[in-house]
Amino acid sequence: MAAPKPNEIIMIDHKPPKKWWMDTKPTFRQGTFSYPSKPKNIEILDMWNPREWNPVDEDWKLPDDWKERILEGFRDLLKKYRSLKVFMDICVRCGACADKCHYFLGSGDPKNMPVLRAELMRSVYRGEFTKAGQLLGRWAGGRELTYDVLKEWFYYFYQCTQCRRCSLFCPYGIDTAEIDLAGRHLLNLVGCNINWMMEPAANCFMVGNHIGIQPHSLKDMIDFFVDDIEEVTGVKIEVPFMKKGAEILFVTPSGDFFADPGTYTFMGYLMLFHELGLDYTMSYYAAEGGNFGFFTGTIENAKKLNAKIYAEAKRLGVKWILGGECGHMWRVVHQYMDTLTGPADFLEVPKSPITGTVFENARSSKIVHITEFTADLIKHGAINLDKNRNAGITATFHDSCNPARGMGLFDEPRYVVKNVVPEFYDMPEDTIREKTFCCGSGSGLNNDEFMEMRMRGGLPRANAVKYVNERYGVNTLSCICAIDRAVLPPLMDYWVPGVTVTGVHELVGNALVMKGEKKRTVNLRQEPIPGMEEEEEDV
């Protein structure tokens, strides 16, 4: 679906309307909401109320006891999560979070202010669960959970990418992602969820990757990569899958297998591992590091997918796990995995077989981020890099929300990028590192039907790229997230045409000097490298 033109979108009014928010209802306009899950995906994940339905219809085909189900679920979550309970009680509505949300900045819709997004739920908490709210209603900031409120929840809880930028600025650390996850879980209880989140989750659960490519087809795809790498470098490499007794299990988001430009990043990993002579393996069963189950807010889904990684590590008998470039995968891996599916006591504390570095920071979960691994290699001079093979590239780096605010991974990827490209400039400081802006399409919202909101939500990110593009001639946006690699190219085309999006390890792959390689004339995208073009024979 095509979004309106940029000049139509930028007429954004951040002033709220006259009518108060409790009196307004969302309009389900094409481009601003995601399509509902197909029933089969709900069934595969053993969730609730599978059916065909459409958000624009009056009747959402909810079960008769939908309200009781949600309120019961709400009470249950309050018992299980201190975060939710505290966040329901302590917001003072200071508004510090308001203009921190990319969707508010890009749409001006007041209910996209994090405070109001949370109030959508808080008002129900007060109205249904507190004495004052029950007695005084909106005079105590409370309201009842009605059909319209439920529809509003669906609209706005699927207009949040759980990026946590607001939680950084909140004086009490109120985390809208926690509230949004809770909201999505409650919506799940009555079968209101979106397909772009549910289908990848169902595929990862049953097949092992988010597109649902069956293992033998995936094998063929890997063979294509091997051919491409040979064509570019002259080096024939092997990609070990399901190899028992390997030292390392490598898990990456499966987006890297299917979609350009993630595929080039994937080739970068393969070349690096080959050059190091790394004893590693990948798995068709646990071929997905990303976790679309997490986005559903129903934590059981996150566990169903994440558990495969440790299970496979155990079956294959590896010593530790290396994780590829992916945003929310690393939120789950860093903040949830050990708790959710650990302890990984059958693994060893990760130790780089090349440099001998022991990754003490991963001593319990035994999983290392690829940029931690590669930064260590570069620091020790363990790989030979030639920046000239990235000639013509002036790069910047987009901190993905989750590794930024859910992990603190800032300097490792920058160190890697700066070592492989000739020129690097960071975007303005209020738009990077912990203050980074979302790509606008995270948490299952990277679908086509949501394109207008994606372009709106991506405006702050794109605008910062535009700044360094105009000022320093930055032409390449590097990132460490598969969703970024899928969604930033259309975002750049829309707001900053001419900027290329690349994974960090694509740049590493290009710069990597390999034993037995031929003279490189093209990069992994098979585009000529400036200054290294093939000499024309007939000149």
Partner: protein
């Protein structure tokens, strides 16, 4: 109406106290109400905190605001991304005493181009600091009414607070700081369109209540003087559990006291509980050492996994055909 109604309520509360004084209910407003309010405050506050504490923290979810601790040669941001409990305590210290997160505040503005401009904005932080520290000082020097003899630290605060003596009685700076803070917070709430839009009665009511307290207190000190010896006797009576109701204390005192009691009684049921909640926020009070120290979830969800064996059964023919090793 969301603004007017809470204002009327606060005026109504003040009038109630005045009326009570006029019909000689000093015992009720001077003794019973304060005890009831104190009881509600303490019991309500504890109940709320215990209620929060009863819900577990299933996952370690700090919002990381700085570089993680990873490789030894990468500089770890040990306060913004704390790894140890000690570092968490420092982070919390800055959060609680200096409102660190609020200090980070930025203002985003969309200009033509389009171009989004961000700049630091400290007004909210500054108002909040004035308000909270003003309030703290005011409470501290009220201790002189409740402790006998007056401890030297309270005396010292008093000396600093009243250093600008313009005639008698000395001016307490803290009261004016608090008034300035509460006024600034009120003004931004009604003047910034987005903040006005999100504001509830729940936000205006405590502001008006605190304004009422400050104004009645100032009137009592600087304008409508009352019998301060009698007031001290009443307060000492309350805190020593030998309540007395001296004659001759003016209505203004009872108004002031009643509004304070209302604030205390309202506190546990309101957003003012952020005072306790800030300490319990899992995005701030947990270390970013997730991969090094395992966190245990007491209600670890049980799920039905799709096991390797089941997966092999799904694809056995295809796996064999593609010569993918099977267990």
């Amino acid at each position: 109406m969301r603004i007017v109604m809470p204002f009327i309520i606060v005026v109504g509360l003040a009038l109630t106290a005045w009326a009570g004084w006029a019909i000689h209910l000093q015992g009720f407003f001077g003794v019973l109400v304060p005890y009831a309010a104190a009881l509600i405050f303490v019991a309500g506050f504890c109940k709320k905190v215990v209620d929060w504490a009863k819900s577990p923290v299933p996952f370690k979810i700090p919002t990381t605001a700085g570089q993680q601790k990873s490789l030894p040669w990468i500089k770890h941001s040990n306060i913004e991304s704390p790894f140890t409990t000690g570092q968490v305590i420092i982070r919390m210290f800055f959060e609680v005493f200096f409102f660190r997160s609020l200090f980070r505040n930025l203002k985003g503005e969309l200009r033509s181009g389009p171009s989004l401009i961000y700049g630091p904005t400290k007004w909210l932080w500054f108002s909040a600091i004035l308000f909270h520290y003003g309030f703290l000082l005011v409470i501290l020097h009220h201790l002189r009414l409740a402790i006998h003899p007056v401890p030297c630290c309270v005396d010292l605060i008093d000396k600093v607070d009243s250093m600008f003596q313009i005639g008698a009685p000395p001016i307490y700076l803290s009261g004016f700081i608090l008034l300035l803070g509460v006024t600034a917070l009120f003004l931004r709430r009604i003047l910034i369109p987005q903040v006005r839009y999100i504001s509830l009665v729940n936000d205006y009511f405590p502001l008006f209540l605190i304004m009422g307290i400050v104004i009645s207190g100032m009137l009592m000190r600087y304008v409508i003087r009352t019998d301060i010896v009698g007031v001290k006797a009443l307060i000492m009576g309350l805190v020593t559990f030998h309540p007395v109701v001296p004659d001759g204390i003016g209505a203004i005192f009872y108004i002031h006291l009643f509004l304070v009691c209302c604030l205390f009684a309202y506190f546990p049921f309101s957003k003012l509980m952020h005072m306790g909640g800030v300490f319990m926020s899992p995005t701030r009070n947990l270390p970013n050492n997730n991969r090094a120290e395992r966190h245990v979830n007491p209600w670890d969800p049980k799920v039905k996994l799709h096991t390797y064996e089941e997966w092999v059964e799904d694809y056995r023919d295809k796996l064999e055909e593609a010569q993918i090793p099977i267990d």
